[in-house]
């Protein structure tokens, strides 16, 4: 049986273990809450982890599709990008996949049911996911900076507009070949 098929059969176990690894990154009380609370609206972080990891697992079984991969990674990373994690800590969960696979499929690997080639291929997919996750993380942090700038601008937007300053600014920008103003 191929790695994908075995993995598909052990889907539940794989997801439970992965979820556990994810919540272990939080203090014990928090980890307990993230696991216990099943209502997706009372526990949005747990929800996004669930949706993210099951989506990613599906992709691994069926092949990583770039657009989809960033969507599922985004579900998880968008949250971690604003929590108390360094970038490395925020993205560690992707790298956990290799160890996790070898843990869940230990018997099959030992018995030779899964070849070294298959493992190498899986690792390559994890690498690809890791690379995509860098993009996603950076995009989240960039969005935050963009929001900050917008917020500061909007605070005085109407006053500047009224004073006729914004029109001047957008005209100058257009003259210098830049894209429109604030309007």
């Amino acid at each position: 049986m191929s790695l994908e098929n075995v993995l598909d059969q052990k889907r539940e176990e794989f997801l439970i273990k992965w979820f556990q690894l994810m919540v272990d990154a939080y203090p014990a009380e928090t980890a307990k809450f993230l696991k216990r609370e099943k209502n997706p609206f009372a526990n949005p972080v747990g929800r996004s982890i669930h949706e993210g990891i099951s989506g990613i697992l599906d992709l691994l079984v069926r092949g990583v599709e770039h657009g989809k991969a960033s969507e599922f990674l985004d579900r998880i990373i968008r949250v971690r990008a604003v929590q108390d994690f360094s970038p490395a800590q925020a993205l560690a969960f992707v790298f956990d996949l290799r160890g996790l696979l070898r843990d869940v499929l230990v018997k099959e690997i030992d018995e030779g049911g899964i070849t070294a080639d298959e493992l190498a291929l899986f690792d390559a997919k994890v690498d690809e996911l890791a690379l995509i996750s860098f993009n996603v993380y950076t995009a989240c942090r960039e969005k935050l900076y963009e929001i900050k700038v917008e917020e500061i601008k909007n605070r005085s937007f109407r006053l500047l507009q009224k004073a006729g300053l914004l029109e001047e600014i957008s005209e100058t920008r257009e003259e210098s070949g830049e894209k429109g103003g604030d309007q």
């Binding site: 939080y26 108390d84 160890g99 690997i109 109407r158 009224k162």
Partner: protein
């Protein structure tokens, strides 16, 4: 086969090893994006606040007065005597944990000290050590803790990570209100000069010029006249608002955010259009030019000082009663405190709608009526000509702002108004609305940009519920009746649920309102084409 280490087993810098110590022994680290700048000396001086100096929470030395500890403990002793509820809240918590996972900051951050019970425990532990026999003798064993500089800094960090939203109190079997504990803790912090500048600045401006931005009367008037022009461009109707007019029947007060920042400005245009259409005899005040009251986030005394202008101005102008716009904490102050604090306003009359004759019992004490109640009554009595299809380009949900919802029980009126001016409306899940509504994550003076990471965490539960109705029903508009919400929900949506905009309820009223003598409407107030008018828009430009 070589075993691959888990990420959590790798070097500490790579993995996230959560603290395994108990909460009391877990030190607080001031990380960027999680705390607000300290109040500036100049703002504190204007207000006569103690210990004015320029300082930063990341400085090792906070330049506290040498007897800071005595000041705080004396302040606590005095407040425990003055506020019976505080003593009760300090004594009766049984740590059942019912509130623990109900705070949006805990849910979004995963930081256990954002659990309401632990937030309160920060203060309670010091109370136990200093004011209870068990705590004095047994110390830590009885949950007591010495007030050290570290503990004090931890207070600053976590009491400025509570939006005083009161969601936790809904779930506490004893009705313990952690928001009240935060309010007291912030008062104590203020006794030695530890406020945040995002609060002290607006308070100082308000105290000097009447509004948060410190806009002077002529500029305030100019701004409103600017919107008069915008409305005329929109539908050909010239509105003539009056300012500081003595003898007007009604004084209208709204947060200044509606005057100066989008999308609140569209809500303001809605107010102007509505009042014009029904021929309301009202006036604006350039002195009471701010409904918001950041004094409430500083101390009881400061709240009173800033609130005083409402009645003072009503008296000076000789109006009969006050009508208040869409705001959150303004209503908490008005409803919970104004009457006893700066009243009784016996020179005012009980609000009666001049259009329908309805008497509003809800405003009997304060003589200040919520605009949404007023508008709902107009609609109920068939006094408005409305074309809800003008909002067909909007697919709307409603965010109950903490203060009007949990503070006033204002659940039905906004929904009634929305459903009369919009055809597409979808509620968010029940455990995220009405009394259980989730805070925007930026209330109580924490809507500043240096606090953005924390705001995004705190706003996650709200955003998550919006995402649900966005995905399920295609909701593209989050409506609200709070000025802070109008300022902070757009960035929240931008991060978590792109594609959802934010609108005040009276913006949508303004869109739907059919005014006498209006020219054909092709766009909404933002210049967006109305449904079915997508082509005619080009001609306008």
């Amino acid at each position: 086969m070589a075993k691959i280490p888990k990420a959590s087993e790798m070097a500490a810098t790579l993995s996230h090893i959560p603290p395994q110590t108990g909460w009391m022994d877990t030190p607080t680290e001031f990380k960027q994006g999680r705390w607000c700048y300290g109040a500036k000396a100049k703002n504190m001086e204007v207000l006569g606040l103690p210990n004015p100096r320029d300082w930063s929470p990341t400085d090792a030395d906070w330049k506290l007065p040498s007897n800071w500890k005595e000041i705080i403990l004396e302040g606590l002793r005095e407040r425990i005597g003055r506020f019976r509820s505080l003593r009760l809240f300090m004594d009766i918590c049984v740590r059942c944990g019912a509130c623990a996972d109900k705070c949006h900051f805990f849910i979004g951050s995963g930081d256990p000290k954002n659990m309401p019970v632990l937030r309160a425990e920060l203060l309670r532990s010091v109370y136990r050590k200093e004011f209870t026999t068990a705590g004095k003798i047994l110390g830590k064993l009885a949950g007591g803790r010495e007030l050290t500089e570290e503990v004090f800094k931890e207070w600053f960090y976590y009491f400025f990570q509570c939006t005083e939203c009161r969601r936790c109190s809904v779930f506490c079997p004893y009705g313990i209100d952690t928001a009240e504990i935060t309010i007291i803790a912030r008062e104590l912090l203020n006794l030695v000069g530890c406020n945040i500048d995002w609060i002290a600045g607006p308070v100082a401006n308000c105290y000097q010029n009447g509004n948060h931005l410190g806009i002077q009367p002529h500029a305030f008037k100019d701004m409103i006249e600017f919107f008069v022009d915008e409305i005329e461009a929109l539908n050909g109707i010239r509105i003539e608002p009056t300012f500081n007019r003595k003898g007007a029947e009604i004084l209208f007060i709204t947060p200044s955010g509606d005057v100066f920042a989008d999308p609140g400005t569209y809500t303001l245009m809605g107010y102007l259009m509505l009042f014009h259409e029904i021929g309301l005899d009202y006036t604006w005040s350039t002195y009471a030019s701010e409904g918001g009251n950041f004094g409430f986030f500083t101390s009881h005394e400061m709240m009173k000082r800033l609130n005083a202008k409402m009645y003072a101005e009503a008296k000076r102008l000789g109006v009969k009663w006050i009508l208040g716009g869409e705001c959150g904490h303004m209503w908490r102050v008005v409803n919970q405190y104004m009457d006893t604090m700066n009243g009784p306003a016996d020179f005012l009359e009980e609000p009666v709608s001049p259009i329908t004759g309805t008497k509003f019992d809800s405003a009997k004490g304060t003589k200040m009526l919520h605009l949404v109640e007023f508008t709902a009554d107009l609609i109920r009595n068939g006094k408005l000509k409305l074309d809800p299809s003008r909002n067909d380009h909007l697919n709307v949900t409603f965010h109950d702002s903490c203060n009007p919802a949990r503070g006033m029980g204002l659940f039905e009126e906004p929904r009634y108004v929305i459903q009369n001016v919009c055809n597409n409306f979808h509620e968010m899940p029940p455990n995220t609305i009405r009394e259980q509504t989730f805070c925007c994550g930026s209330g109580s003076g924490l809507n500043t940009d240096e606090f953005l990471d924390m705001r995004m965490r705190g706003g996650l539960p709200r955003a998550n519920a919006v995402k649900h109705v966005h995905d399920m029903f295609g909701v593209n508009t989050l409506s609200t009746i709070c000025a802070i919400d109008r300022a902070v929900l757009p960035p929240l949506m931008d991060y978590w649920v792109p594609g959802v905009g934010v609108a005040g309820v009276h913006e949508m009223v303004g869109n739907a309102l059919v005014m006498e003598g209006e020219t054909e409407r092709t766009t909404d107030m933002r210049g967006e084409p109305l449904a079915g008018m997508e082509d005619s828009e080009d001609e306008d430009i």
